[in-house]
Symmetry: C2
Subunit: 297 residues, 2 copies
């Protein structure tokens, strides 16, 4: 267990996620073909698959089967993909580039992109409810958790706070609340759902895993803010520097670049600490947290 | 049982649905307040509540509790409300009037309306997964059914076909496929979920209920098309005549007004026939189908 080098595990798991998504999404020529084609365009062929990776890594804590983790990883990734399609729409960020390609509404059209986001969200819940991935009671808990993480008190709520905060100076607690919802909630859900797909955790284990999941979500966002102001559009595959251009509050704007980096290291250390209780079973999660911390794109 | 006059039952059940929605939706002043306020605006204070009424009526077939039916009715109604908010957006129907009031993006703004639709959809699934409304296995079936009915192979798919069909002459089978998805799938889900919230049905009962549910969905749409061309904007509370103005395919355009009415009567008769197996337990469903057939708004 865990003897495979991390880079290899990551590549294999990303391929696995890609192929599971391809299998679960409706065929591109099934009616309505344009919508299904656009759903596949918006979901397949790109992305770091951070959320499926987290689900698979967390599943190692509880002995979840790879098949159950495929379902969980795809469900969370579909929610993520839906949020990107809607965030890119003209009435939101009005962005034209995503994963190095035209955004969904540019490649297709705006009404189709709206329906793509709507339908990807629905499909995430359909997947979690229709596939046999554990005890029914546990599946219900997973659905409730994913829904809470992505709705108005989670991801969509963070997006609403973000909209309201453009051009306003935020304090660090306000910024953390926004990101805890906007990015953190879904990262946290990926970790918890991955673990829930296996054997039950003790209360102590669950608390620690939750602490890890929250730190990982925040870490992801802090590094994202750093990359938005230091990396190029070509490297990111999405428009760089757009947060600053849009006068959006970021950790770099709030803390400065050096302090933002130091904060990322701090979060990483606390995340590692939270995983100590799991011993070797947490190797992949630790490696992933390192990857999230040091990624260049 | 069923001795209450229909009009009274309907008023009481509509009130019950309204108050359950008000209870399940986040408070309008809870963070993010503008989003929650807009979700309440888009859902409360209007609407015929046809889907909750159908769920409650179908629940009488299987002895479902009113509390479980509140959850089911609200979940389906939230999906319906989300679809209206997104359909009214400028990139879709670009409509300004709904239930006699400004549409959500007019009253608030476009990004908020987008998030309102997204969040209402999420909340529907959160409700069905987090409330105790039956055996967990049955709840999973209900979630899978609602998701299938509202996604790309259901309501959203029908919307995509509708978009693609504007200005094109459709045959009756093509028109029926579009409406079976766009309106019918969610009406059918309301009926089936209501029944699923109680004791199990036999295979024969379920087949007949499904036949009723499909006829009721089609009936609702045919009558909607008739009203769109015969009723006034003031009576409907939404813009009248807009299907014809937008050159959208409707039953009236396809069959003419008189034949559309005759087709509605035919569907009504077949729906009644499908309910015969349930005897008196189907009284409310039959009354509702009459109401759907003869409504003036």
């Amino acid at each position: 267990m865990n003897t495979q080098p991390f880079a290899e595990w990551m590549a294999v798991t990303q391929d696995r996620a890609e192929s599971a998504l391809g299998r679960f999404l409706p065929a591109g020529d099934s009616i309505p073909a344009r919508l299904h084609d656009a759903m596949r365009y918006a979901t397949l062929g790109g992305g770091k698959r951070v959320r499926p990776l987290l689900a698979h890594a967390a599943g190692e804590l509880t002995g979840a089967t790879p098949e159950a983790l495929d379902v969980v990883g795809c469900a969370v990734e579909m929610i993520h993909a839906y949020s990107l399609v809607h965030d890119d729409l003209p009435c939101m960020d009005d962005d034209v580039l995503r994963r190095g390609r035209p955004t969904c509404h540019v490649e297709f059209d705006e009404p189709t992109a709206l329906l793509v986001g709507d339908s990807l969200q629905t499909m995430a819940f359909e997947l979690l409810a229709s596939q046999a991935i554990g005890e029914p009671k546990q599946q219900l808990e997973m659905i409730a958790l994913l829904a809470h993480a992505s709705g108005s008190r989670g991801m969509a709520g963070g997006q609403a706070i973000d909209l309201a905060s453009v051009g306003k100076p935020l304090t660090q607690p306000e910024l953390e609340l926004m990101h805890a919802l906007k990015t953190g909630a879904l990262i946290r859900a990926a970790v918890l759902l991955g673990a829930l797909a296996g054997q039950p955790l003790s209360a102590d284990e669950r608390n620690n895993l939750d602490r890890f999941a929250k730190r990982a979500g925040l870490l992801f966002q802090v590094v994202d803010d750093i990359l938005d102001c230091t990396a190029s559009t070509a490297t990111l595959g999405k428009t760089a520097g757009k947060d600053e251009a849009a006068d959006k509050p970021t950790y770099v704007a709030l803390l400065g670049l050096e302090n933002a980096r130091a904060y990322a290291d701090e979060l990483r250390a606390d995340a590692r600490d939270a995983l100590a209780i799991f011993g070797d079973r947490a190797t992949r999660l630790n490696q992933l947290a390192d990857f999230i911390c040091h990624r260049q794109f």
